[in-house]
């Protein structure tokens, strides 16, 4: 790691930066979507590298368009750049054509803003959005010229950290990452930078190992090399525990995730970068609340982001106005896991919608609860029915919905659709999962029934200049996620998933119905990685060396290479994806403390098998999930007021 204030060192690298810029410029004429490699977008932050003490490269392991839509990254970028002693620049995975050109010409992975090589930075931080990005991470490390394994890195290499949505079960990355950041990032990242600064100011005593040891003391930091995993003869985990190095560093026996207590007390980005080109979400985002306690049993985010912490309506409106002023986007999205549950939603939506409509800005709610009230809300704010309305019933029968605890009744469903059609929507998208625990063919028939029902409900609204209805049924394959009540459940075999898809497809044949499904093989590898232990690190490396990258992109996914990678390591992906755990088994991720009690997950799993539905603790009784029990100050924060009554009518 270089001394940021050492002018000579900085200057000697100016050549690298200019040379990279020139070389890249010559390439841009022949790669797809060249605008994504420019780095000079409106609101991008360009600081002089010689003027800061800490240089942070924020990496998202997928292409620009996907990474630029990630609010977590925007929060970290903003938080670091607000510091005077630090800068953050962005790195995305170059697309395959750009990567090929870079390798051919020897251009190392560079940060967008300055075009400096990533290996020159002090800290390289990866966002972990989903499991199928692991090969991209290795590829980016390789392109950057940084040793893949944390054990091989020296004092001249950046510290490699990783955090984000799937950081709580990223054991396959244990060999490649110096430390993980668990939970909410905005406070812990500042503490990590403070620790780095102190260590640098003291003259870097003890080198890299000492730096990591300092950071291990920060709540929310998990250093994988401080823990050892032992396996029994059949390959099941015997024990995960702190080793000698971890004990000496004073690391926790079970590293716990960070929980920001009050969203109003932390900064939200008000000058997000405005891309040149089109990205997945071309809109302004305001996080209205974080966490969710509906208790859907399949949902990882719903478990690891508890409890619910709302932003006050005043703050939301203030953020919205600043975003409009600083970006010029046409759409504002109120983001959360289930926006309609936001207590202040009526107040915020109505006044924002009025104010912003005059400026030509549309307010949208990306996650709609399935009921008439929510649709009514969405209708209040949507000036133009541009796109379809999305509802996610997830399962086709009440029985199965109760198993997975997706609280949607038949009445809710019919009410939501009727409200949508009455309000003028003619296109509806329905999300379902197949392969859910206890699923039977009659549940699939239930999906078909609901789809046909969606078509029939539109009939009274035909004519009067209305288009015919289009119902799109989008079906994904269930992947059992760690830290959820279904973590002990196996994934259904790919062949069987395919059979269920075909059955459903046959039942959905109708002029007004479209059917989207994904390839079971991608979900299969995702399940293997998601439920995987540290031994999968070598599998990921082999898969990458065999050419795997962008695994989440259907056309790039190389199933054969993944199978070969597993075989070469003597491991079976089916064992990982399809194994059923007992409650007493040691799970590869159970040393990570998300704050949720194992007893709660077991109780919820048992309730699932009895199709017993449970309600949200914000208005129903507490289920003792544990998140509010041991930690001072952690509790649901609802604004306004402390109790939210079931919302009644729209504004």
């Amino acid at each position: 790691m270089r001394e940021a204030t050492d002018r000579e060192a900085i200057d000697s690298h100016t050549i690298d930066r200019e040379a990279i810029r020139e070389a890249v410029d010559r390439l841009l004429g022949r790669v797809s979507k060249p605008a994504r490699y420019l780095g000079n977008e409106w609101n991008s932050v360009h600081k002089d590298h010689g003027s800061v003490r800490i240089r942070f490269a924020l990496a998202f392991p997928d292409v620009y368009e996907v990474g630029m839509s990630n609010l977590g990254c925007a929060i970290i970028y903003d938080g670091i750049n607000r510091r005077e002693d630090a800068l953050a620049e962005r790195v995305y995975a170059p697309w395959v054509d750009m990567e090929a050109a870079m390798r051919e010409q020897g251009i190392p992975l560079f940060a967008l803003e300055s075009h400096r090589p990533v290996r020159e930075f002090d800290i390289l931080g990866f966002s972990l959005p989903y499991e199928t990005c692991y090969t991209n991470i290795l590829n980016m490390l390789d392109l950057a010229g940084i040793p893949l394994r944390q054990a091989e890195r020296g004092d001249g290499d950046p510290l490699v950290i990783a955090g984000g949505a799937t950081a709580c079960n990223a054991e396959p990355l244990a060999e490649f990452v110096d430390l993980f950041v668990l939970g909410d990032g905005e406070e812990v990242i500042q503490e990590i930078l403070d620790a780095y600064r102190a260590w640098a100011d003291e003259g870097r005593p003890g080198g890299r190992a000492a730096l990591i040891a300092r950071m291990a003391a920060i709540p929310g930091v998990y250093v994988p090399s401080y823990y050892d995993v032992s396996y029994d003869a059949e390959g099941w985990i015997e024990r995960i525990g702190l080793n000698e190095r971890g004990r000496r560093a004073g690391a926790a026996a079970r590293p716990a995730r960070r929980v920001v207590l009050d969203l109003d007390r932390v900064q939200a980005p008000t000058r997000p970068i405005v891309p040149w080109s089109e990205v997945v979400f071309d809109r302004m985002m305001v996080e209205v609340f974080r966490g969710c306690t509906r208790g859907c049993r399949f949902c990882h985010a719903g478990m690891v982001y508890r409890p619910v912490r709302e932003r006050s309506p005043e703050k939301v409106k203030e953020l919205a106005r600043e975003l409009v002023r600083n970006t010029g986007h046409q759409e504002l999205s109120l983001v959360s896991l289930a926006t309609n549950d936001y207590g202040g939603v009526r107040d915020v939506l109505c006044s924002l919608a009025e104010d912003l409509a005059a400026e030509g800005v549309n307010v949208s709610l990306p996650s709609l609860r399935v009921d008439a009230y929510s649709v009514g809300l969405a209708d209040q704010v949507a000036r133009v029915r541009k796109s379809g309305l999305t509802l996610a019933p997830e399962a086709g029968t009440q029985r199965l919905r109760d198993v997975i605890n997706k609280g949607v009744s038949e009445n809710d469903y019919v009410g939501a659709l009727t409200a949508a059609y009455r309000a003028g929507w003619d296109r509806v998208k329905l999300y379902f999962m197949i392969g859910l625990p206890t699923e039977r063919d009659e549940d699939l028939e239930g999906i078909a029934r609901m789809a046909h029902q969606a078509v029939d409900l539109h009939r009274p609204f035909r004519g009067k200049g209305r288009k015919p209805v289009t119902v799109t049924v989008s079906v994904s394959s269930f992947v059992p996620k760690p830290h959820t009540p279904f973590q002990w459940e196996p994934q259904v075999e790919s062949g069987e998933l395919r059979r269920r898809q075909r059955l459903l497809g046959a039942l959905l044949r109708h002029r007004n119905i479209r059917f989207h499904r994904n390839e079971p093989e991608v979900s299969f590898i995702e399940a293997a990685l998601s439920r995987g232990d540290r031994r999968l690190g070598r599998v990921v490396e082999r898969a990458w060396r065999r050419g795997c990258r962008f695994d989440a992109w259907g056309e790039q996914f190389k199933h054969g290479e993944w199978l070969a990678a597993f075989a070469e390591e003597g491991l079976d992906p089916r064992w990982y994806a399809h194994r059923c755990f007992d409650y007493e088994d040691v799970l590869p991720w159970e040393h990570i403390d998300t704050g949720i009690r194992k007893g709660f997950l077991v109780a919820e799993h048992r309730a699932a098998l009895e199709a017993a539905a449970h309600d949200d603790c914000r208005w129903d009784r507490c289920k003792l999930c544990g998140i509010c029990l041991d930690r001072p100050g952690v509790r649901p924060r609802l604004k306004p007021g402390d109790r939210v009554k079931r919302p009644k009518g729209p504004c």
């Binding site: 070389a23 841009l28 490699y37 409106w42 020897g106 089109e278 002023r325 600083n326 400026e359 030509g360």
Partner: protein
């Protein structure tokens, strides 16, 4: 408001759609009130004379913006420039009579455009990769001779591949009104050219260079940089500037 926009090297690689989007956002940030089209999907009333190809810089892009609230050209330029990202700048603007619609009832900018003037930097590739150039490579072409030969031909057909992958054959020669070598220095040269531009027929600089490379049994020519100087209408005796000098020189 009729606007002349410059696109510099920092924004070279953004597409025409990117440019349109960026402009719309900048107008919003600047608080300039733009009129919207009617109907289900309201769009800002902005019309471009011609789309600029990716990779080409320009000092002469023209567009008309229909404002719903009046503002002086000076204020318009200042407020919009303050919100434009690196590489984009309003070079000049003048108010137009909106009584008869966007162009006072006359032909739209897009309809009026027929030609475009370019400055092209071409070269004979002698460097491989991004290492500093090595001596050697093929001998520098006779640029003037090459251009003369091009002009003497009646037709040179080049293949144009669309986004969807379909291949069309385009005769480049008739789309070139004029081309001349301004400076020739060994393996590099600077050319001035006037090509067809507009919705019906248009020629991209890279297509012209491909055509050049097909002469004399195949010459190694590379387009280093292309810069659009101005857009032109079709006059009786040939291309005439689309905008009067008052706007161009501002």
């Amino acid at each position: 408001m009729r606007v002349r926009l410059g696109k510099g090297p920092e924004a070279r690689y953004i597409s025409h759609l990117d440019l349109k989007r960026t402009l719309e956002r900048a107008l919003r940030r600047a608080g300039l009130q733009v009129a919207f089209s009617a109907g289900y999907n309201p769009n800002m009333r902005i019309s471009f004379a011609s789309a600029l190809a990716v990779g080409v810089t320009s000092e002469g892009e023209l567009l008309d913006i229909l404002l719903s609230e009046p503002v002086t050209p000076g204020e318009f330029v200042a407020r919009l420039n303050a919100q434009l990202p690196p590489g984009l700048a309003v070079l000049a603007a003048r108010g137009m009579d909106a009584a008869g619609g966007m162009n006072g009832g006359g032909p739209s900018l897009a309809e009026a455009v027929e030609w475009a003037g370019y400055r092209l930097d071409v070269g004979s590739p002698s460097r491989a990769g991004w290492a500093p150039s090595r001596a050697g490579g093929s001998p520098p072409p006779d640029w003037r001779g090459l251009v003369d030969e091009f002009l003497q031909r009646d037709s040179i057909v080049v293949e144009r591949v669309s986004h969807e992958g379909e291949v069309r054959r385009v005769d480049v020669r008739p789309l070139v009104h004029r081309v001349a070598v301004e400076v020739a220095a060994g393996p590099e040269a600077r050319l001035h050219a006037v090509f067809r531009a507009g919705s019906r027929r248009n020629l991209r600089p890279d297509e012209f260079v491909t055509a050049l490379g097909m002469l004399r049994g195949g010459v190694s020519v590379e387009l280093r940089a292309a810069h659009r100087l101005e857009l032109m209408a079709g006059g009786e005796t040939g291309p005439v500037p689309l905008e009067d000098t008052a706007v161009r020189k501002e």
